[in-house]
């Protein structure tokens, strides 16, 4: 397996979508190829960080009450 093939399969490898042979091929390549292993580590970090993102996270929210007033009274609002 070369690096191009390895890179194409990294997500499938991470997500457990490869069969045993495929897993073994990628795993062996990562053992022998530090750059691909580094890329895999980066992807794994991103996936872990994404799963830990609280949906309400560090977002700057609009004014809740102003939006509520728009929602109640604006065009198409719930109060006609």
């Amino acid at each position: 397996m070369d690096c191009k093939e390895s890179i194409e399969r990294l997500s499938a490898f991470h997500d457990g979508e490869l069969d045993e042979h495929g897993r073994s091929e990628v795993s062996n390549h990562l053992s022998d190829c530090p750059p691909c292993a580094g890329l895999y580590a980066d992807l794994d970090n991103i996936i872990v960080a994404a799963s830990a993102l609280s949906i309400e996270g560090s977002i700057s929210y609009p004014d809740e009450e102003a939006l509520w007033q728009r929602l109640r009274l604006g065009s198409g609002g719930i109060i006609h």
């Binding site: 890179i7 980066d42 992807l43 994404a50 929210y61 609009p62 939006l67």
Partner: protein
């Protein structure tokens, strides 16, 4: 009613009977979650605000059909995703559903000799990078890696094949990784 106040189902039933105050309570309870999902899927605060409003208007219209068979948050989450997808389909902000070959070429910059070069993905850097993804990539990434949907569900929601969903996700992850590295090298 419990110690925490009326349940979502109780508020939904009152809302369905026309109680705007009860609907206001539901809105305040779930506003942040709906807005955050819209923002992550759209990557644009103004559009996210508009879609949050549209979602709650749709919620008010459909609230009578909530029977409590599933958690209210799950029901509202699905409604929010559907509103954003309808928004995409209307063409106001169409997601880039790239082909299997991908419309956005991704230059793969491999890791360094040190596999620990990017040990921690800073949360703000990740959110910033997500907002810069092409919409099609962002939609699949948010639904799968942030929201935890399976490829089968995503494929149904987006009207694409599971293979395309997987391909989009992989390209999104690679592009995110490049974006985060670019950001880090600019800091």
């Amino acid at each position: 009613m419990n110690a925490l106040g009326p349940s979502d189902l109780e508020l939904a039933q009152k809302s369905a009977a026309g109680d705007v105050s009860a609907f206001g309570d539901l809105y305040r309870r779930h506003f942040r979650r709906v807005y955050a999902l819209c923002l992550r899927m759209l990557g644009n605060p103004t559009e996210a605000e508009d879609l949050t409003q549209e979602t709650f208007i749709q919620l008010f219209r459909k609230i009578g059909s909530f029977r409590g068979d599933s958690a209210f948050t799950t029901w509202l989450h699905r409604m929010t995703v559907n509103q954003v997808l309808m928004h995409f389909r209307r063409g106001k902000s169409r997601p880039e559903m790239t082909t299997e070959e991908g419309e956005t070429p991704i230059q793969i910059v491999q890791g360094t000799e040190n596999p620990n070069a990017m040990p921690i993905v800073d949360r703000i850097a990740l959110e910033n990078a997500i907002s810069k993804l092409p919409e099609g990539y962002r939609t699949v990434f948010v639904l799968h890696d942030v929201e935890g949907h399976e490829h089968g569900e995503i494929a149904k929601m987006l009207g694409i094949s599971e293979g395309t969903s997987k391909s989009q996700l992989h390209k999104a992850r690679l592009k995110l990784r490049n974006l985060i590295r670019e950001q880090a090298s600019n800091d």
